[in-house]
Symmetry: C2
Subunit: 356 residues, 2 copies
DNA sequence: CTGTTAGCGCCTTCAG
DNA sequence: CTGAAGGCGCTAACAG
């Protein structure tokens, strides 16, 4: 009801002690039982809440850590976040998440403000890395751990995965299961993941001797979302449909699971069966990959593991700001599911959903 | 490199002016062009970054707003978050997201710390509402808007949806499309959404004259996730499978889309066709509902709309702290997709995905 | 054990 | 237009 918020001064006044004593009583420092009781009572009566800002200013820390991502809508980041959260909460930190959007400039702004006071440390997983962003991360007032690729010279703690190799695993798996004409649905090429996956695909395509038309079998989605994946798949599939209606592609690799979901939807729309007519493999091995219909074969990029490692690096640096920057790599692995079941055999009954 | 962060004092010193002048120059207050230039140069050279904590303490605000949810993994909250973000960023606020976990006690702690300094306002969507939480929200130092149901007497700004009626829409839709034996997959009953949906189902079940066994056709999932939905569905379907293998249920309503996805997976596992043998309807009308296979009929609860309204309420209260608390309701609506296509007709070709 | 004093980094009157 | 001084709310020295 009162328009003014009670401050420690008011509590002390009501309790009949000094502000210092009130502070001590509330924070469990040395104080007489009587003082503690009086102060506690006064605080309760006034509904006193310590001002976090003032406290941080004095203490020099906020006990908050931040996790910044371009797009919280991506399940990968949710997994990462959970892992980070579970690590840092064990050390008494609270985790704040910030979705910055695709614009690197906005990310810079976020780092600037967040890294100076509101948080004691930052884990960031940027999709687009500009020189300006790197510079900002280096001069940030608090420790920063980057999930993703960054030039070694940046001198920052880093956790990354070898997504190029991940694409290689996908190509290999498709080859082994009898696919020959593999298309690739990438995300935007100006993103770090997009660029890395492209490199991986081009290399694997060449090594597997799949032909010279590596450019023709690629399609770039507008972003890493289901809707964009659907559109890109429709475009790519349309482009490779022969006049007689047969398809020149028998497999699709998607840059992430969301794009893969969109691609499967698109395939069904144009009358293709997955996996009989078209195999699809995603990346990230999201929880939904297992529940999608058909189950989505996906390359695990260890999101949870990366999140965990990033959090640990951050905690370690917080404890020892002088330790040399470390860069750790998580290896990808493929998880096979129904979406790439060999075309040779008829559809496995337990995946096609049409018993009898 | 320097171990100490530069403060405004250092900038002023280097620029050869007073701290006050440096502050004015940096913040665009009156200052001579020459001073501005010198201060700017000094700040750049030192890599000066204003301390957000000190700034907030002095100014009395942080220009940050917070959005607290139990589980960021739920796509509903992502949609809400996007809507909130887009509203508040237009007013110069940054949005911080905090995932509190299912424990109400943790939520209380979050509100306590966040609502006192780190953020200027809070939108919270708690799944479990305890008296303690309500009390904490009422005494929060900053304006709070609750997305979800709360006693009127709480005197807080509120945005909610009529999810009970939403369940009613689902029942009605299933009845109209020829389903007679409807099961219900709920989330935990001690959550606000779980309780409301239960009320809605029991009421609609009775009104539709579906029989006296309303308890027998319900199953509670451990939480609002795909995995829990799958388990609950397996349990419910198993319970209603007659000795001769036929199923006593021909439709399932799920408390949210994630549970519905899990249910469809479970149905396929046990050899049922969706929608031919079993219709499934979800709630929330998540983006993925449209892309799932089969497309998931879902009751839209207007998550984006609720987020937008909550953000607007918060902004309005920030502008006028004295305005009377408002409570706005968003009406649900059903979006029909393939998962509830009438069983009478053969599977519609464009949804079954198995052309010829 | 307690009160007084000092200051975290910043912004903003108030004189000059 | 500029500098000096005060204070946001809190905690950590220092005496008493």
């Amino acid at each position: 009801m009162s328009t003014e918020r009670p401050t420690l001064f008011h509590v002390a006044e009501l309790a009949g002690v000094s502000v210092a004593s009130a502070s001590r009583a509330l924070n469990g420092m040395v104080a007489s039982a009587q003082t503690i009781a009086k102060v506690r009572a006064a605080a309760a009566e006034l509904g006193y809440l310590p001002d976090a800002t003032a406290r941080s200013l004095k203490l020099g820390h906020s006990l908050q850590l931040a996790f910044a991502v371009d797009d919280v809508g991506n399940p990968v980041y949710v997994e990462m976040m959970r892992a980070i959260e579970s690590v840092v909460s064990g050390s008494g930190f609270r985790l704040l998440v910030s979705s910055t959007g695709a614009d690197p400039a906005e990310t810079v702004g976020l780092v600037r403000s967040l890294a100076r006071g509101y948080a004691d440390g930052l884990v960031i997983s940027p999709q687009r890395v500009t020189d300006e962003l790197v510079a900002e991360l280096q001069r940030a007032a608090v420790p920063v751990v980057v999930v993703g690729s960054l030039p070694e010279s940046a001198g920052l703690d880093t956790v990354r995965t070898d997504s190029a190799r991940g694409v290689g695993l996908a190509v290999e798996h498709l080859r082994q299961t009898g696919r020959r004409r593999i298309g690739f649905l990438n995300g935007p090429l100006d993103t770090t993941p997009g660029a890395a996956r492209r490199r991986g695909f081009v290399a694997a395509y060449g090594e597997a001797g799949l032909g010279p038309d590596v450019e023709a079998v690629q399609q770039v989605a507008a972003d890493f979302t289901v809707a964009a994946g659907r559109l890109a798949a429709l475009e790519l599939l349309g482009r490779h449909r022969a006049p007689d209606g047969t398809l020149a592609l028998d497999a699709l690799i998607a840059a992430n699971d969301l794009i893969a979901f969109g691609a499967i939807h698109a395939a069904i729309e144009v009358g293709l069966r997955v996996p009989q007519d078209l195999a699809v493999v995603g990346m990230d091995n999201t929880e939904l990959a297992d529940f999608f219909n058909p189950g989505l074969t996906s390359v695990s990029l260890g999101s949870a593991e990366r999140g965990k490692l990033a959090a640990e690096l951050l905690l370690a640096r917080l404890a020892d700001p002088a330790r040399p920057p470390r860069s750790v790599v998580v290896q990808p692995g493929l998880v096979a599911r129904a979406s790439t079941a060999p075309a040779a055999e008829p559809a496995a009954p337990e995946t096609a959903g049409s018993p009898r």
